[in-house]
């Protein structure tokens, strides 16, 4: 008898879950800008995955002395840099680094910040107060400076930039997630789970987080865009991924010396960063409206 009930319950929840995702997708589809963002993102993702098929990595790092500083042409779509490297190849292969840092730092940051935030929001009391106090203080340190200091301490590499971005963003994610968890913990179903004797960590993982996940997804999507911009900034001031490895921010750093004579060197890497961030921001905006249509005035 009770087994039957459980099956029915499981199926009910399945139906409900599917319909919620479908409903979100239906609303998301109707938003033209969001769909545009998604298509843009898939194109960028495709280019990143197929980078080696489009143009070999060697082309992006090979210096050809006879082809220095050439403007865009049929043989070099985006021109060449001061070492005679093909800028199109560098941008295509640079996408991997940017996306890796952008997504990596947000996924790790949101996971750590999310767990901490969820525990704080759920437990409340002194633990919450102390952790929040510490995080608030860390948030007073300008995040760009914090990231730069971490990169300086660990050394300049892709993984260290990723780590620096993650550490400097955890407090912010933690705050956001804590507040969306606080909105859920007051609900009666949490009280019900509590009175059934469900362990705290199980309540957090099974009841609190799934219900607070909407704003978290939206924030994370937008955060990927700003993480890509911040990581480019770190490379731009010369502290990130080092040349000859292709990276968009580092390319802008190299282009700075030549920008007045050869503007195309600045134009293309910037467009690459901008469109990638734009695609994430458009999708984030669309998701917010789709997840909570009430918010859309």
């Amino acid at each position: 008898m009770s087994k039957d009930k459980e099956i029915v319950k499981a199926e009910q929840s399945k139906v409900k879950k599917k319909s919620r995702a479908q409903e979100t997708w239906r609303r998301f589809k109707k938003n033209k800008l969001a769909v545009f963002g998604m298509i843009l993102f898939f194109i960028i993702l495709l280019v990143t995955i197929l980078a080696d098929v489009i143009v070999s990595y060697d082309v992006s790092v090979t210096q050809v002395a006879s082809e220095r500083l050439q403007g865009p042409s049929a043989s070099h779509w985006f021109g060449t840099d001061n070492y005679g490297r093909d800028l199109f190849a560098r941008i295509v292969h640079g996408a991997r680094n940017s996306l890796l840092v952008g997504f990596g730092s947000v996924i790790i940051g949101v996971t750590i910040g999310g767990l901490l935030g969820a525990v704080c929001g759920y437990l409340g009391g002194r633990f919450d107060a102390i952790v929040m106090r510490i995080l608030d203080s860390i948030m007073c340190i300008p995040s760009a400076m914090l990231a730069l200091a971490i990169v300086a301490a660990l050394g300049t590499s892709l993984w260290n930039v990723l780590m620096a971005m993650t550490i400097s963003s955890v407090p912010r994610y933690c705050r956001i997630i804590r507040s969306s968890v606080l909105g859920v913990t007051g609900q009666t179903y949490i009280e019900a789970a509590h009175s059934c004797g469900t362990p705290d960590f199980q309540i957090i993982l099974k009841h609190v987080l799934p219900n607070a996940i909407g704003p978290i997804i939206v924030e994370s999507t937008m955060a990927v865009g700003s993480a890509i911009i911040s990581a480019a900034g770190i490379s731009f001031v010369g502290m990130g991924i080092q040349p000859p490895a292709p990276e968009w921010g580092a390319m802008l750093n190299e282009a700075k010396t030549y920008m007045t004579m050869y503007p195309y060197m600045v134009l293309f890497p910037g467009l690459a960063i901008g469109f990638t961030a734009l695609s994430m921001n458009l999708m984030g905006d669309g998701l917010r409206d789709a997840l909570d249509p009430k918010l859309k005035n």
Binding site: D136, C140, L278
Partner: protein
């Protein structure tokens, strides 16, 4: 009110303790030899060793941390290992550039952002709304330092209207101001739009309309006044964040601000300058937020009433 301010100022103390700990800890991850930095490459090993011991660098991390904190609360931020100048003096020498840059950018961000935001909200679904929100999206997505470089190419190189580097006159600041303002124009525009749209739907606006008041009076006297509350907080936060976030723009325009000071000090492992500058920036940030909170009390009668009651 006084009690509130005092409380907030006292709360600065634990904040500083934590900030210094975090920054000190991070910079301590890689071993550094201040003796070598101070005495230069030519110094003998014994002299370097002696200098390190004199500075307490043979002691464990926590001992040095406590010593630094004690000095800090006596107002002594130490001296630079590289230049030998006082940290406070070096930071304040760079401060005017960063403050001018941030303040100018905040003003531009508020004026343009709020105006475009009002336009977008009042004429919702019109071409102004679409153009405004699209502009905000683009400004928020493209890195400021790149926009700055493009502005230099256009206005300094092609048109020759404005200088591209240096900080000698107001003209030198125009491009950096607009560059820095970009992201804030975007956030102010979105904030103003959302907040004004929300307050336009309020009952008191409907009442004002029902009384037969002119639309302009309804918008500016009734809706906008209430809608500007979150905008004020955001402007303050923007300014606070900017103080420590202008390093890329300073790099583009070769401005000697606090950002580039920290950057060069991080590169040369000049630990006292890095920590000193970050602590000063963090204190400024907290003070700016305090001012915003106090201002909030003056603007919002509800908050003011709460102060008076307590």
């Amino acid at each position: 009110m006084g009690k509130f301010v005092l409380k907030r100022l006292l709360a600065l103390i634990p904040t500083i303790l934590i900030i210094v700990f975090v920054v000190y800890f991070i910079l301590d991850l890689t071993p550094s030899s201040p003796g070598q930095l101070i005495l230069g490459q030519m110094a003998t090993e014994e002299a370097v060793e002696a200098k390190n011991i004199e500075l307490g660098y043979d002691k464990p991390f926590l001992v040095r941390y406590v010593k630094y904190i004690i000095q800090l609360f006596q107002g002594d931020l130490g001296t630079s290992w590289v230049t030998g100048k006082g940290v406070l003096e070096s930071v304040f020498a760079r401060f005017p550039v960063t403050v001018t840059l941030s303040a100018g950018a905040t003003v531009i961000g508020i004026v343009i952002g709020v105006l475009l935001g009002i336009l977008a909200a009042v004429k919702q679904y019109s071409i102004f709304d679409a153009a405004g929100t699209t502009l905000a999206m683009i400004l928020a997505s493209f890195p400021a330092f790149w926009i700055g470089m493009m502005l230099v190419i256009l206005f300094a190189q092609e048109l020759g209207w404005l200088p591209s580097y240096g900080a000698d006159s107001i003209a030198h600041y125009i491009l950096p101001w607009f560059t820095t303002a970009c992201a804030f124009i975007a956030s102010q525009l979105r904030m103003t739009r959302t907040s004004l749209l929300e307050s336009i739907r309020m009952d008191y606006v409907r009442t004002a309309r029902a009384k037969g008041q002119k639309e302009s009076v309804v918008i500016y006297r009734h809706a906008l006044r209430n809608a500007l509350m979150p905008v004020v907080t955001m402007a303050g936060m923007n300014f606070g964040t900017l103080l420590g976030g202008t390093v890329t723009v300073e790099t583009v325009f070769t401005l000697n601000g606090v950002g580039t000071l920290i950057l060069t000090s991080i590169r040369s492992k000049d630990v006292p300058v890095v920590i000193g500058a970050i602590v000063i920036l963090a204190i400024c940030y907290t003070l700016v937020m305090l001012v915003v909170d106090i201002l909030y009390g003056f603007i919002d009668p509800q908050v003011k009433a709460r102060y008076i009651k307590n």
